[in-house]
Symmetry: C2
Subunit: 129 residues, 2 copies
């Protein structure tokens, strides 16, 4: 099973996982890592690397970060350079995690990444009456 | 000042606001409403309407919901039909709330909505090494 790792400023990664679970039920092999105000970047890097190891069951891990350019993004980008078995997407929202969790048994890591990216883009909709 | 209202499944609206505040500091005139498992849809509707009233200082309110088709989206869509002074976007992510908070003094409600929508779409990026 492809792993799912959420890395965010603050605790919203954990909360968005809980919100997704309100909709689709428990999401296994999925972890959230938070970066808070006084946290060390070195510790964040170590935690991401350790968590990737535990989430990777052979089919890889998709990593969803909150936004481009912050520390979660930067740390994961550096780690990505050294590894082939994970993918990194920014712009984490609820549709993306729901899609990831529901589709990961039907797609390989590359396919899941493209599907999740497209879902994220398509989920930003202005609603007119 | 344009108001910002976040309406989500679970508590992640409140947490994504806190995460945004870690990056840009306190965000005033911004509220988050959560829908939890046993909450009533009627209560959610009342809470959204009351909060819109308190957030609207004359320049309107931008409402960001988590995804298309859930109860937060459905309730806000119904309310939108009766009002002209707010805009509704789905796909809430961290870039969108940061952009809203930083740009709302420079744009009117329509301009802010378009800017926030484009930011949301552009924030979903696959990072390649």
């Amino acid at each position: 099973m492809i792993g799912i790792l959420l890395v965010t400023h603050g605790e919203f990664g954990e909360e968005i996982k809980r919100s997704a679970e309100l909709i689709i039920g428990p999401i296994s092999n999925c972890s959230a890592i938070s970066l808070n105000r006084d946290d060390s970047i070195t510790n964040l890097k170590d935690e991401v690397e350790e968590t990737l190891e535990s989430l990777n069951k052979g089919e890889g891990v998709i990593v969803l970060v909150d936004l481009v350019g912050g520390s979660p993004f930067n740390v994961c980008s550096v780690i990505l350079k050294k590894r082939r078995n994970f993918k990194l997407l920014s712009g984490l929202n609820l549709s993306m995690i729901v899609e990831c969790a529901m589709m990961r048994d039907s797609l390989n890591l590359e396919g899941l990444t493209q599907q999740c990216k497209q879902t994220g883009i398509n989920s930003v909709v202005e609603v007119n009456p």
